[in-house]
């Protein structure tokens, strides 16, 4: 075996070892890398009184402004389960019904009281005319469908 060959095999082995070590470490930290919990995960996860992030879609027809003008109540859904959310503050531009959202806060008496609400957008990009045409043709893919897919994957 020439020295070049030996160096090549050493390098291959080292990379293989490094790759497996990283894969193992990431699998072990799986729960800590998760950015948010879905409403379904909340059913099984013990969150207690600590801060966490809740992610899902804003349920259609659930957004209500409170009389004080700064508090918004809405429901976050992953189509299987829903969670009631209360948030006091300004909402991002992309916040709308049927769109993805990630809220940070804690559960207080069955209601998720959010300190911060972030909008999550999906991977679809198209001009407004195209989305109109798709809706009219009845083939428009609602973002909720991809959420169902994600929920099934869990």
């Amino acid at each position: 075996m020439t020295r070049k060959k030996r160096r090549l095999y050493m390098l291959g082995l080292a990379l293989l070892g490094l790759g497996s070590a990283t894969a193992l470490a990431l699998t072990a930290f799986q729960d800590n890398i998760v950015f948010f919990y879905s409403p379904s995960q909340l059913q099984t996860q013990q969150v207690g009184d600590r801060n966490f992030r809740l992610g899902g879609l804003v349920e259609e027809g659930s957004v209500k402004k409170q009389p004080d003008g700064v508090t918004t109540v809405f429901r976050v859904t992953d189509t299987a389960h829903t969670v009631d959310v209360r948030y006091r503050g300004q909402l991002p531009d992309l916040f709308r019904e049927g769109q993805g959202v990630v809220a940070e806060g804690r559960m207080t008496g069955g209601v998720f009281v959010a300190r911060e609400v972030l909008a999550k957008h999906d991977e679809n990009y198209m001009p407004p005319e195209v989305s109109e045409a798709l809706k009219q043709a009845g083939v428009y893919k609602n973002p909720a469908d991809s959420a169902t897919k994600t929920a099934k994957k869990e």
Binding site: L11, L15, I33, F35, P92, L94, Q99, E123, Y125
Partner: protein
């Protein structure tokens, strides 16, 4: 492949290719900017803000592309001891770091109006930040040794260790739930992006690639020239020392 590792052949080839790459950079950039700023529609959800994508996404692709190429060069440098491979990695590092920086900054500017935050510690954003630090760490490490050969070797090992981060960045949005949305172009089932918006994106990606090729060739040529000057100086200095004369004026 070994044929191209010859510095003399590289100098000839790059002299030939450089004007073409530079020309392609200029033309593609003008074309891409015109497409992305004037001749493409706003997004149905994000409106005009979507135009940040035409800088952000090519920069992100290039940051991964450049790093992967540097790691391949590092492997060639370690196994076959090609001097040109070392020079390529060293020359490409600041360009890759620049792309990563542009990606992070534009992403932040995009996140502020759309997500409602400049930065979050989700898997995608964090792994790209680590990529930026890998670039900086590599540049610092290569220059930290008195013996450039040892610096190159240490840097190559760092590049190969850091390669595990590349698939993590790419698949972070699929493996974990993140605030960052999943891939729109390179994904199963084809792009989920309208052709009228895909065109400016791909033209800009072409412009970024042509820019990288031009600058990296220029930088490798400069490195080779510097090595030559270094060798000449050393031989002159040893020649002078051999004569017993002390003269710094010659090296001017």
């Amino acid at each position: 492949m070994h044929r191209f590792a010859n510095p003399a052949r590289f100098l000839r080839l790059s002299a030939l290719l450089l004007p073409w790459c530079a020309g392609a950079t200029v033309i593609l950039t003008i074309l891409g900017l015109w497409f992305s700023l004037f001749s493409s529609p706003p997004d149905y959800q994000q409106g005009e803000t979507v135009r940040i994508m035409y800088i952000h996404v090519p920069a992100a692709w290039m940051s991964l592309f450049v790093y992967t190429n540097m790691a391949i060069a590092a492997a060639c440098g370690l196994v076959w001891k090609h001097p040109l491979a070392d020079l390529f990695a060293k020359a490409a590092a600041p360009i890759g770091a620049g792309f990563t920086f542009v990606c992070l900054v534009t992403g932040s500017l995009w996140g502020a109006p759309m997500w409602g935050t400049w930065w979050v510690w989700d898997a995608r954003l964090t792994s790209v930040l680590i990529l930026f630090f890998l670039y900086l760490g590599y540049m610092a490490l290569v220059n930290a040794f008195d013996d450039p050969q040892r610096g190159m070797k240490a840097g190559n090992v760092l590049l190969l260790v850091g390669i595990v981060n590349v698939p993590i960045i790419k698949f972070s949005v699929d493996w974990w739930n993140t605030l960052h949305q999943p891939a729109s172009v390179v994904r199963m089932g084809g792009p989920s992006i309208d052709p009228s918006m895909l065109t400016p994106l791909l033209v800009m990606a072409g412009a970024f690639t042509a820019y990288f090729l031009s600058v990296v060739m220029l930088r490798v040529r400069t490195e080779i020239a510097q090595r030559k000057i270094q060798t000449l100086r050393l031989s002159v200095a040893s020649g002078v020392a051999g004569d017993g004369a002390v003269s710094d004026g010659m090296q001017g």
